[in-house]
């Protein structure tokens, strides 16, 4: 079996295994303001709603079209979210932003005072009602002021010979991710990042071979956690563009992980944005012919107050408390730990193997007379596990190695556990008291285990959770 084929099988195995575990844990909804005929995509959070782009028909008389396919060109629109399910009226953004040509995916700084957005480089030229195919995409920025959008500027790395588009600004405003088909990439469209230094954007840097492929990588979204979501038609995509994410570990992007069905499908799925808690978000898909925006919410519960799991420690030091310094000790102590083990010494250490109620006894041997005084003192030592959810698994595994994890050693008082929820830190989640998992990339992962209690008489459930790190090593570097 060829290496390539084998690798593919592993990936298919991982994906299929995970899908069956929690495919039903997402609810997706096609948002009501989508049109049937036109495209809506590339949402970005803005104030009380979103901004997105669409090629919907906005004018009765004139709408500019793409000379390649005759479609209307894209503009940016805004829509407010009234309630969890209700959305307001879609409004086109100001003509300070929208032009007669394409305006596309946008991003904001965290105070929403500055917008970076995609637009044709030659937006000021009126060339009839169609767009010249040589009019490449570029990134532009504009200030959101009380008096409207101002100070629209072209990004310094726009170029009339290639496209620079799909900006996504990091939470600290210092990194601008974007997609480009500039020369020197890995093929197709690649993802790049520019770092701001002393107020100036540095040169674009390709995100590298872990992220970029010979295919297209587009629609980056940098989450405030540092996780980078994007779309690609490679990386084992199950159908055209799929949504993936990656994170930097030790300065290196690790192998992108595909999001699960039903977010990804065999259609184009792209343009994902997600909230700070990674609980809900929006993405785009053409699964209903035209591009539409969908909301998604994960049914996987969130455990807000997780703490780092502490390892159970059953090791103790024993000593005689009342020792008077002036004494000329000529005594030996023999400690009977009550678990079948004994030790001699003025101070001794002992690790119990299990929990239990132990009676520790002190026998004293008088070295002068040779007399042995049994059971001179006793100490009842109840040894219990720390009251916490407990993740039982290896701390270090290899890529591709099946790791078993369980929560059997969880010790919670007055807490009748009904459900166990696992988050492996690589985007995979599942349920159950004992599970297995395979990591596909090296790195340090945070594994979380949350538990729910059974409902009490009032229908309330309690929840608790812990996390711990697992180091996944590359087989080659072992």
């Amino acid at each position: 079996m060829g290496r390539y084929k084998k690798k593919m099988l592993v990936i298919v195995f991982l994906i299929s295994g995970v899908f069956s575990a929690f495919a039903q844990d997402y609810i997706i909804t096609r948002l009501p303001f989508n049109t049937k005929r036109y495209d809506e995509f590339a949402p970005v959070y803005f104030q009380d709603g979103i901004i997105f782009c669409s090629n919907r028909k906005t004018g009765v008389f004139v709408n500019y079209t793409d000379d390649r396919n005759g479609d209307f060109l894209f503009d940016l629109y805004r829509v407010a979210q009234k309630t969890r399910t209700k959305w307001g009226e879609v409004k086109i953004l100001s003509n300070k932003i929208n032009t007669n040509f394409n305006e596309g995916p946008a991003t904001f700084n965290n105070r929403e005072t500055e917008m970076f957005f995609t637009r044709n480089n030659e937006a000021s030229k009126k060339i009839g009602n169609s767009i010249n195919r040589k009019n490449r995409l570029g990134i532009f920025s504009g200030k959101n002021t009380r008096n409207g959008w101002k100070n629209i500027k072209a990004f310094q790395y726009n170029n009339t010979n290639y496209n620079v588009a799909h900006p996504s600004l990091s939470d600290d405003g210092n990194f601008l991710y974007f997609a480009s088909d500039m020369p020197g990439g890995f093929g197709g469209i690649d993802l790049y990042v520019c770092e701001k230094n002393r107020g100036r954007w540095g040169k674009p840097e390709n995100l590298g071979a872990e992220v970029n492929t010979k295919g297209d990588e587009v629609f980056p979204f940098i989450h405030q956690s540092g996780r980078l979501y994007f779309s690609s038609d490679e990386h084992g995509s199950i159908g055209r563009l799929d949504i993936f994410y990656t994170e930097k570990v030790n300065g290196e992007w690790y192998k992108p992980i595909a999001l699960d069905q039903p977010i990804n499908s065999r259609y184009d799925d792209f343009g994902l944005i997600i909230d700070a808690f990674k609980k809900s978000g929006l993405f785009c898909s053409d699964r209903n012919k035209s591009d539409d925006i969908y909301s998604f919410i994960t049914l996987f519960p969130i455990f807000e107050n997780m703490f780092r799991m502490k390892e159970n420690n059953f090791c103790y030091e024993f000593f005689e408390k009342g020792s008077v310094n002036t004494d000329s000790l000529q005594l030996k102590y023999e400690w009977d730990f009550g678990d079948g083990e004994k030790a001699k010494g003025l101070e001794v250490e002992h690790c119990f193997k299990n929990t239990g109620n132990y009676i520790v006894q002190l026998n004293v041997i008088d070295e002068i007379t040779g007399d042995v005084y049994f059971n001179e003192a006793t100490y009842q030592l109840p040894i219990e596990k720390i009251e916490q959810v407990y993740i039982n698994c290896k701390d270090t595994v290899l890529v591709g190695e099946e790791i078993k994890m369980d929560g059997y050693q969880t010790n919670l008082k007055n807490f009748d556990i009904a459900e166990y929820y696992w988050d492996f830190g690589d985007g995979r989640r599942t349920k159950g008291i004992d599970i297995t998992h395979i990591y596909s990339s090296p790195g340090i992962y945070i594994v979380q285990l949350g538990v729910f209690s059974k409902e009490d008489a009032q229908g309330n459930k309690k929840k608790q959770g812990v996390y711990k790190n697992i180091v996944v090593l590359d087989k080659k570097k072992k």
Partner: protein
């Protein structure tokens, strides 16, 4: 008020803890014999002053006559220590009445001044006398009220002095405070004590002898004095708060002393002075003398039945969790 409480506490302690008196030495002391030499003996034989005083406490509730019995009172035979030929006489004198205890000279380590205070109730001298060798002689009967009533003890005190009036041999003997003339019947609630203990050590190095000086709540420090220990092993002090303090011991015909501070937990309790013999070279027929004073120079009484019971260090296990 505090003083009153203290006295009451003492009374209660004596009554509670001395219910099984009164062989002297008592079982818990594990001392083979009391020892008094004839006054012509060299002190290097172990007796510093050829005189030993003991006090018996009879609780005031005890109404019937008492007897003071002496085991092996004579100076001869197999128990006593011969120096040349047995030519020693020892006189035992029993005192009661006023000042038999409360006279200051009676509570001294040295037989000087009016140490024979009180009313002489009975006296008897013994030399070589096979009839009383390895046998009992009984003083009494005495009416308990013939003793001196001392309120702080809650009873009547009798005093017995053994003195080596002639010769140079060593007299080994014991006492028993009894309700019977012919047998050893204990008196409930009675006790016996001395301020200086002259006794014979065991020959067996495995045997550990004890005395139990009582520490009151005014005691801050004590000084132990021992005589003619012949460097035989060690004196170890154990208490409710002390696991084992090693004191200096004396050599042949010499005095040794050792001072130490009293711990808070030791107040109103007895100390356990353990006399632990060395194993090599073994010392036999070792006669020794010991007394203990507080920081004021007042002697601490050695009760044959220790007040508060035999003091025992209370071991306590401390536990620390390892990180």
């Amino acid at each position: 008020m505090i003083k009153k409480f203290y006295i009451i506490t003492i009374l209660i302690l004596i009554i509670i803890t001395s219910s099984i008196a009164q062989p002297v030495p008592a079982e818990d002391e594990n001392i083979p014999y009391l020892m008094t030499f004839g006054k012509l003996a060299e002190t290097s034989w172990g007796d510093d002053d050829f005189s030993q005083t003991f006090f018996f406490v009879i609780p005031e509730e005890h109404k019937i006559p008492i007897f003071i019995r002496v085991y092996d009172p004579d100076v001869g035979g197999k128990i006593d220590e011969i120096n040349g030929v047995f030519d020693t006489r020892v006189t035992y004198s029993v005192y009661g009445g006023n000042e038999c205890y409360t006279n200051k000279d009676a509570q001294s380590t040295d037989p000087i001044g009016n140490y024979k205070s009180g009313n002489l109730l009975a006296t008897k001298s013994f030399g070589v006398n096979p009839r009383y060798d390895d046998n009992w002689y009984t003083f009494g009967p005495f009416n308990p009220t013939e003793g001196e009533y001392v309120k702080k003890f809650g009873g009547y005190i009798f005093k017995i002095i053994a003195e080596g009036v002639s010769g140079d041999d060593g007299n080994m003997y014991r006492y028993f405070l009894s309700t019977s003339q012919n047998s050893n019947n204990r008196i409930e609630g009675a006790n016996a004590f001395a301020y200086e203990y002259s006794f014979r050590m065991h020959n067996d190095p495995n045997e550990v002898s004890h005395i139990y000086p009582y520490v009151d709540d005014k005691t801050i420090s004590v000084e132990e004095k021992n005589f003619d220990w012949d460097s035989d092993g060690m004196i170890r002090v154990v208490s409710v708060a002390r696991k084992g303090l090693i004191c200096k011991i004396s050599g042949d015909d010499k005095w040794g002393s050792y001072k130490f501070k009293i711990l808070d937990e030791e107040m109103n309790s007895s100390l356990d002075f353990q006399f632990i013999k060395k194993r090599y070279p073994q010392v036999k027929n070792n006669n020794v003398v010991i007394s203990v004073k507080n920081q004021y120079g007042d002697l601490l009484p050695f009760y044959v039945v220790p007040i508060g019971g035999v003091p025992k260090y209370k071991y306590s296990i401390g536990v620390r969790k390892k990180n």
